[in-house]
């Protein structure tokens, strides 16, 4: 990562000037820490992706072919745990968030730079512990439901502790961002002038700070169950396995919004820039982020309609669940309305942003099937759920991340990506994604349960289709990453503001100097003042 270019003079390399291991490992620069996070999380994205490909390969035939059932169970656990804990949760918040929050609010760094570095190394520590648990790999699924997780021979206590550390890193990062947003905004940058990415990240950080400790204590209790024989979740000792599920989802449902809100923030930045148009409904988008974060804390029970929880609780959770749809819908409508009478160009960031909206609509509209009780009973724990959350998480969050990576690549590296290759990668990814996951909706309604190493022959054709799709998807992602590498080494020089954006990060050179801005800018207007003023805000 130190080898960005050979043909640039040191003066142009901004924060990338210093080389060597120490200058990265001990850096207090939020940009470098952001880059470290991005490399780490993207690496685990590729690892999780390769595991997914192996799983799809195994599912090419109904019976066991490549591996035995246990190996398959280990793989889907690793795929889930890696993608959730090591990629999606830290990916945008800690990676792009670290890099761009101070730049977007006109600050020199985050509020607590040392804490920021510490949280990165806690994250790495967590990863090391998680890797150590591979001596007897997990086969519990990423949900760790008890009592299976208390009984299996796998290294559950080790993994729990690793995830506890990763969660701690997530808490510290969220805390840092909340304080940064409150205290370090440039002069004149009022709350109503904040870029929407900041609003999304602010809501995200609140969830991280308030929800993560609950999963932390849950995993500690799970570890205590295995190490000391306490029995909070073990019915044989008077404990209650449903208590674990309540705790688990009290965190893991809000954390869904930790994954999606930052991506929504990216989309809110990209759409105005490439349609040269003021964002429509700024306040609605900003407040809906907070609304989603708030409602997100009240709906965890919709993961448990068939768990044995009382039907009354099910009805209440179902009712509350539907209210997440409203602020989410508002965002989608606002983005689309922003396009109206715009002057739109389709550079790669915009293509990914539009893809986000397209796929996220599908993911979002399949949500009510799972929120409604009658259909949930049938669809719960089937491939319908798998399809739904891949449309929101991969079609949503990951496309948002790709949009952000393409959008901010010039700022981070000072170089441009090859636009033709980027578009090719986009097209292949788009086709591959839909081929892989859309068919899973159909499989799911026909009853194929998830987490099945083997399946009935009647689902064979659908699975072959999905597996073929996964190869196309892999090719698309491979092209994209090749383009990233090429862009970093050989890309055209970018200049300070290749997309002609109005947010503050574009008002400083690419890559930015260590201090971000030569002089802290004074803000006089919101960052979406494209086009001709019709009405004054």
């Amino acid at each position: 990562m130190t080898d960005h270019a050979t043909d640039t003079s040191p003066a142009d390399r901004g924060y990338l000037t210093d080389k060597g291991f120490r200058s990265w490992a001990l850096t207090l620069d939020h940009k470098r820490i952001g880059v470290l996070y991005l490399f780490t999380t993207l690496f685990f994205f590729l690892v999780g992706g390769v595991i997914a490909l192996l799983m799809r390969l195994e599912l090419l035939t109904p019976g066991p072919s490549l591996m035995n059932d246990h190996t398959y169970n280990v793989l889907f656990t690793l795929h889930g745990a890696i993608m959730i804990f090591l990629f999606i949760i830290p990916g945008i918040p800690s990676g792009l968030g670290n890099f761009f929050i101070p730049l977007l609010i006109g600050a020199r760094d985050v509020a607590f730079p040392r804490l920021n570095l510490l949280s990165y190394w806690v994250f790495i520590g967590g990863i090391v512990v998680i890797l150590a648990s591979l001596v007897s790999p997990m086969d519990t699924g990423w949900t760790f439901y008890t009592p299976y997780s208390a009984k299996t021979g796998a290294a559950v206590a080790t993994l729990s502790f690793g995830i506890f550390l990763v969660g701690m890193s997530s808490i510290l990062t969220g805390l840092n961002f909340i304080v940064t947003t409150h205290r370090l905004r440039a002069p004149g940058l009022t709350w109503m002038r904040l870029p929407l990415f900041i609003w999304g990240m602010y809501a995200t950080s609140i969830i991280q700070v308030l929800a993560t400790p609950v999963v932390g204590i849950t995993f500690l209790l799970l570890a205590a169950e295995r190490l000391f024989g306490v029995g909070f979740f073990d019915p044989a000792k008077g404990g209650d396995p449903l208590l674990f599920q309540h705790f688990f989802w009290f965190y893991s449902h809000p954390v869904v919004y930790v994954m999606i809100l930052p991506a929504m923030g990216i989309i809110s930045e990209v759409i105005p820039v490439f349609s040269r148009k003021a964002i429509f409904g700024y306040r609605a988008i900003a407040y809906s982020s907070l609304a989603i974060a708030f409602i997100g804390f009240l709906v965890w029970g919709h993961h448990m309609f068939v768990s044995g929880m009382s039907p009354v609780a099910g009805v209440i959770f179902s009712f509350l669940t539907f209210f997440v749809a409203v602020p989410t819908g508002v965002k989608v409508f606002n983005w689309i309305a922003t396009l109206y009478r715009g002057s739109i160009t389709f550079e790669s960031p915009m293509l990914y942003a539009l893809t986000f909206i397209f796929l996220f609509i599908i993911g979002g509209l399949t949500g009510p099937f799972l929120g409604a009780l009658a259909t949930n009973v049938h669809l719960h724990d089937t491939y319908f759920v798998v399809a739904h959350f891949h449309y929101t998480m991969m079609g949503g969050t990951v496309m948002g991340l790709f949009a952000g990576l393409h959008y901010w690549f010039p700022k981070m590296t000072g170089r441009m990506l090859n636009e033709t290759v980027a578009k090719l990668a986009w097209a292949v990814t788009f086709v591959g994604f839909n081929a892989t996951f859309f068919v899973m909706f159909i499989m799911g309604y026909h009853g194929m349960p998830r987490r099945y190493a083997e399946y009935l022959p009647k689902y064979h054709a659908d699975n072959v289709f999905a597996t073929a799709g996964s190869w196309i998807l892999a090719v698309g992602v491979a092209i994209m990453f090749a383009n990233f590498v090429w862009g970093m080494l050989r890309g055209e020089k970018a200049g300070a503001n290749p997309w002609r954006g109005l947010t503050l990060e574009w008002q400083t050179p690419s890559p930015p100097p260590t201090e971000n801005f030569e002089e802290i800018p004074t803000v006089t207007d919101w960052p979406y003042g494209y086009g001709k003023k019709v009405v004054c805000r």
């Binding site: 009478r341 002057s343 609509i361 009780l373 724990d381 009853g447 987490r451 009935l456 019709v534």
Partner: protein, 313 residues
């Protein structure tokens, strides 16, 4: 290629309703799908700018109160409607059916065991008569499992240490698959059973035939023996009279007043709890003196006793 059909088989009560709810949400979803994607794609094409073309100055439209009001209110109403139809459909699925035949289901890694009222036990095959309601009382001996019949649109998780229920109302004869839907370890995907729905005559004949399982003695009968042997009758009467503890007569399914003012319905879970954790819920007006039978009575024993208590109307 069965999945080319729109729906899986509709083979029991409320499958039609579930599919109707599904279609309703599909209709709402398609409406929004075409509305949003339509505008998205239309705007993207209509307002595109080709490379090299000059940038047109765009109007700064930032808010529109009426439009935003509409797109908050209409989706809110529609999701409320979805919630309500989902709730109704669900109410019908979980509503108890009077006169149902009771079958106990024990899930363990990785097989299903079905125990009939006459004590007959069958592994991995649930045989029931068409048109007759069935109540499944399910528990697990080890980890979580899930009972799932796609053709019935029914699913319920199964937990160790407590009972969960499902009501079946089969409307078609045939063989249907029962999946384990809750991940339960290595053999999860192989944990399947057959639901065999036969005409009532065939079922009666099958019931008279030689027992395949360890049966022979009816569940309630075994429960009666256990109640006598375990000394329950010293404190609990069978005829409704008051002894040290409340009577067994008519206890199942009745509202029980507890110390502290609350009340519960005496269902399987309550009875089981009263046997293994007698002091967790004290019946109003009775002393908390019953010893625990945890460890003395096995899960199978408790199931038998509950079956017996159900017969004491």
């Amino acid at each position: 290629m069965n999945t080319l059909a729109l729906f899986p088989d509709q083979a029991a009560r409320s499958t039609g309703e579930v599919d109707a709810v599904f279609l309703f949400i599909v209709a709402v979803g398609l409406f929004f799908f075409f509305l949003t994607q339509g505008f998205l794609i239309y705007f993207a094409i209509r307002y595109r700018r080709r490379r090299g073309e000059p940038e047109e100055e765009t109007p700064q439209i930032t808010e529109n109160g009426i439009l935003e009001f509409i797109w908050v209110v209409i989706p809110s109403l529609l999701v409320l409607a979805i919630f309500v139809v989902g709730w109704w459909g669900y109410r019908d699925m979980v509503r108890p059916i009077p006169g149902a035949m009771e079958i106990n289901v024990t899930a363990r890694q990785w097989l299903w065991e079905f125990t009939y009222p006459d004590g007959r036990k069958v592994i991995n095959e649930l045989r029931i008569p068409v048109g007759k309601p069935v109540k499944l009382t399910m528990t697990s001996t080890d980890v979580l499992h899930g009972f799932f019949i796609p053709d019935y649109r029914l699913k319920q998780d199964i937990l160790p240490g407590r009972y969960t229920h499902l009501w079946l109302q089969p409307e078609k004869t045939g063989t249907f698959v029962i999946f384990c839907s809750q991940y339960c370890g290595t053999g999860h995907s192989a944990m399947m059973a057959n639901l065999v729905v036969v005409p009532p005559d065939d079922f009666a004949r099958w019931q008279k035939g030689p027992a395949e399982g360890a049966g022979g003695e009816s569940l309630a009968h075994r429960g009666e023996e256990l109640v006598e042997k375990s000394g329950c009758l010293a404190c609990h009467s069978l005829d409704g009279s008051r002894k040290v503890g409340p009577t067994f007569k008519g206890v199942f399914g009745h509202q029980v007043e507890l110390e502290g003012g609350s009340s519960v319905v005496a269902d399987e879970n309550y009875l089981k709890e009263s046997i293994v954790e007698p002091n967790a819920k004290i019946v109003k007006g009775y002393p908390p003196v019953m010893p625990t039978f945890k460890g003395t009575l096995s899960d199978d024993d408790i199931a038998a006793i509950i079956a017996y208590l159900k017969t004491l109307k």
